[in-house]
Homo-oligomer: 336 residues x 2
Amino acid sequence: MSIKSPYLLFIGDVPDALAAKTAQGVVDWRPERCAGQMRMEGCGADLGIPDMSIEEAVKAGAKTFVVGAVNAGGVLKDTWIPEVVKAIEAGMDVASGLHVRLQEVPEVAAAAEKHGAQLHNLRHSDRTYATGKGTPRKGKRLLAVGTDCSVGKKYSALCIERDMKSAGYNAEFCATGQTGLLIAERGVALDAVVADFISGAAEFITPETDENKWQVVEGQGSLFHPSFSGVTLGLLHGSQPDAFVVCHEPTRTTMRGVPTPLPTIQQVIDATVLMGRLTNPAVRCVGICVNTLALSEDEAKAYLANTGEEHGLPCVDPLRFGAEAIVAEVESQFGK
Amino acid sequence: MSIKSPYLLFIGDVPDALAAKTAQGVVDWRPERCAGQMRMEGCGADLGIPDMSIEEAVKAGAKTFVVGAVNAGGVLKDTWIPEVVKAIEAGMDVASGLHVRLQEVPEVAAAAEKHGAQLHNLRHSDRTYATGKGTPRKGKRLLAVGTDCSVGKKYSALCIERDMKSAGYNAEFCATGQTGLLIAERGVALDAVVADFISGAAEFITPETDENKWQVVEGQGSLFHPSFSGVTLGLLHGSQPDAFVVCHEPTRTTMRGVPTPLPTIQQVIDATVLMGRLTNPAVRCVGICVNTLALSEDEAKAYLANTGEEHGLPCVDPLRFGAEAIVAEVESQFGK
């Protein structure tokens, strides 16, 4: 999937910032790809970039109208449909993170057909992949894994990419989820592919590359999450990481959406090494990324210091304090 | 997916028995569901049941025309299409294990529409599932896992179901693949569901049941197969087995279709317990099933005795010598 930027980020009339987090993720990480935001009356979110009409966005060069909001049931609201149609008539493609496929909305399908617009459904995977082969590929890979879903794997990978680039590495974020796709412009929503092709799609996302280039791969789920562990293992085997970081949220006690208790960081390190060895016998942990949003600055620093010491690994909140310690660990283990 | 029997098993003009193995599996395990076979001129396979025309099969009560043959590219051959259409016109549903969806063949789609026939695509999953929850469910479950794909997991599960029933257990084979679906009449082809729903579909296949009933679950792939490990882990977590058997083919040196070396039986036991604990903390191995087809009877018996002793577990070729020793182990560990 390859999505043309710049984007006009449409967040409709969502009630709050949480419902606009797909769009916010793009603004946070790729502001240069965002022409502006478009909001409707009553919108309770603000992405912090210029408000634009469809006409203004097209004048500013916008190529894709991004429905960057979630909605109960994942449908395209009736009041949003005319805006999507207008965007197509003005010459834009459309990308949507909703559950419904854009092609299933008759007005949208008809407009796209008439104007030759591309419709990108970020949650769906319409192409086929080869099955995974497990053959070693040139290049280096770092995968973000987690003690749970939604613990900051995507943001950790993006921080590590940023700090590796600052340190002079050739590094590239590789997207495996819908928000990641808009940030990277390409990638695959791994949870949407047919089960037989998870590792094959992961191999497609992280192809052979230069010996010294690092692909920094967005993780999915957790080996210990009873809903999504299959995606996690297929991604681990397909991306054949040389290095991984474990992401963790310290105040969580049960896995997201289910009553299963959280595994320890050490359990995740051990299981990732044990299973990851299949396609990369030298796979190793290079750090721990903690989302300390719920902790004060002092609490956060103490937690990171203790956790790092306990595991003998750099431990950072990459968003709050930077991921430089993890990049230093990569340099000491793999060189530059 | 629920498929009406008896079946008319259509194997067209396949060159050999291997190309008819889906149909053969149904004849081997559920002869009472098979009205007859239908072959075309030049067919190199024989399922060993009566040859029938479509008219004869309908008179004999056949409800579903099963395309039980594989074909290069997984397409419905041009010369097979008229037979499928005739079967629909005669009042039968159609089930196909081919890659192509029956609905994509215009003549077949039109006939089904006109006559109200159901079209079952065994390799595709058209319904949606909830995501897996991991919540403990009543009833008991035994899962067949493997050192590789195609090492006899389905046949082992069917042998164990048979021998548990003979020993007085309430046991039911649960299908997770296309041939299994025809044998069980229901189930889900797990490798065809969207990746996010693997464990949810596995929970759907193995629902809560009577405290003393055993669901004997067909396995898929291997935790150590770089192409399909995600399906295997999702099935392990979703089926939350109390017991598992490891299936193995002793002459194989690399995993099917890839150059990855085979894991040891002990590695599979250890990884299955480690990962399986997430949804069933008491998961344990109750035996080893070896496909000894490539060994003489003396070699086979020696191999089974040595392997069983090495692991301290019953070790059988369930198809050649029966699975009674595994049923006895289940009884000693779980009672009756």
